[in-house]
């Protein structure tokens, strides 16, 4: 299986703190990098963790609060100083477009590459990127401003050919693509080997979902059903639920309840308010509902098996 993992570059809410950078993370699939959110200091984290800019062509901005996008112009500046030529695709709520291009015009009038802007401006679930490795869907969350979550999932692959069958029936290379798609094998002596004898089922497509910033949106649990890994807003601990409601965020328990309803395999809690010195309370709150909960932290890499 190709690598498919998520690395946390920052997971604080509102502002960088002594402990955390603000929101950003890298999804890696088969060597390609996809950035979600780009707070101030993201480029520092990106390079510190050894990611290669040439692998990054797509940046997804959930919403236009500064703690999710203020680092983008700095990252683009650094790419331009490095004479990058490959275009960068930015997916963000539509109101970000004019600000982003104003900044590019002001700070990077001679940028070495193009920025292609993809406006997020819909209320239904939409596929916003599909390449050879991955599909990305965006969906509306429930925050104080238009804010989108993202679902990354592998494309459906054909069945895998059983290695013992390759040897036993001497399957020619030119027949393999068809067999993966369901063809039977017609041998040189006219004998037909049914597909079921030649193949084993494909790995189920793996899925990762990012839901921040948001109040819990239970209606999204259908879209995210069976997600392998879920990152969810967990700005407040349960005793501060009123603050979560007032600010358009979630508590740890709300994140856990949502993860349970999605049938998620694992939940990453993140976007922590700086008011809490002891973050283990988030974990205690969440695990009482959804045991497979973990805390985000800078540098942590979560492999999606």
């Amino acid at each position: 299986m190709h690598d498919f993992d998520v690395t946390i570059l920052g997971c604080s809410s509102a502002m960088p703190t002594k402990k955390h950078f603000a929101s950003s993370q890298i999804v890696r699939k088969n060597g390609s990098l996809y950035m979600i959110d780009c707070a101030e200091g993201t480029q520092i984290q990106f390079f510190k963790m050894g990611f290669r800019p040439s692998r990054l062509n797509h940046i997804f901005i959930s919403h236009t609060h500064g703690d999710h996008c203020l680092g983008l112009i700095g990252l683009l500046s650094t790419f331009s100083l490095s004479n990058r030529t490959a275009e960068i695709n930015v997916y963000a709520p539509k109101d970000f477009e004019s600000m982003l291009f104003s900044q590019i015009e002001f700070y990077l009038p001679n940028a070495s590459f193009h920025v292609v802007f993809h406006a997020l401006d819909f209320t239904s679930v939409n596929t916003i990127l599909e390449d050879k490795d991955i599909c990305v869907q965006a969906f509306l969350l429930n925050h104080r401003v238009p804010c989108y979550g993202f679902l990354f999932y592998e494309k459906k692959k054909g069945n895998r050919i059983n290695k013992t069958s390759i040897e036993r029936y001497n399957i020619p290379i030119k027949a393999m693509a068809g067999i993966k798609e369901g063809d039977d094998l017609v041998c040189s002596d006219g004998k037909v080997i049914p597909n079921s004898e030649l193949t084993i089922p494909a790995f189920p497509p793996r899925k990762y979902a990012y839901c921040s910033d948001t109040k819990p949106v239970m209606s999204l649990s259908d879209t995210l059903q069976g997600v392998d890994l879920l990152y969810h807003d967990s700005t407040y601990i349960d005793t501060d639920e009123e603050l979560a409601i007032a600010t358009g965020h979630s508590t740890a328990s709300q994140a856990a309840t949502f993860a349970k309803q999605c049938g998620a395999k694992k939940l990453i809690l993140g976007h922590f308010s700086s008011r809490y010195k002891d973050e283990s309370v988030f974990l205690d709150d969440a695990r009482s509902i959804f045991p497979a909960s973990v805390l985000a932290d800078e540098g942590l890499r979560f492999t999606i098996d």
Copy 2:
């Protein structure tokens, strides 16, 4: 004497690196803080080093390259999240005004405080701030875009009253201000004590100058004559002088030559290009001309004696 010192928050050129943050520093005088430049990540450094936002009311931006100003909107965002009410004064080249206020309107439509913009748009030496503790002058440097240096100097104080005289002549408090300004003391019996017998000279005003980014501007050595501490662009080592010329920067030797011509007491080399792994070469280059040269580094505090 009141405290008067400079703390380096960042000293890399062009972009943050694994070793350095980009340009920012704090001048501290008698408890008040003055920020020079505000690159991405400045707020992280500011809080990490324990500075108090309530002490900071003036921010000086040398020029509008991103590595000197991209952190400002993040810093202001954090101040607003903390419900700051005191206004912030920003001194910057005039073309920064529209970008800054566009960002404020976009990211901080409900900012809790006002930003007062002071446009730098002159070619002579101008006093841009004068408060009870300090005067700040701005002067044009020689970079690829309009770029200003800053001279911080203590206001000229009156002579100090000799402690032994206070006791010997029982000097009344109401007479002290006049004596500091040069008055003689008229005793109750009519006897006149000359001022020279009552006072010792004031401490000479201390001076700090920031010159980055720039080619060396020798004509500024009159303005900066006798400066106690000088921070100067030292982007390149001597063997890369051609790069310095091409990009509007200085080599370590050029910085040292300028410091010598200013009669500076100490030179801080900064704004290092990330191309050099061994920064001791900057120091060797500079010290061969100006022995009192030191390297900037994050967290270093330079006291102006």
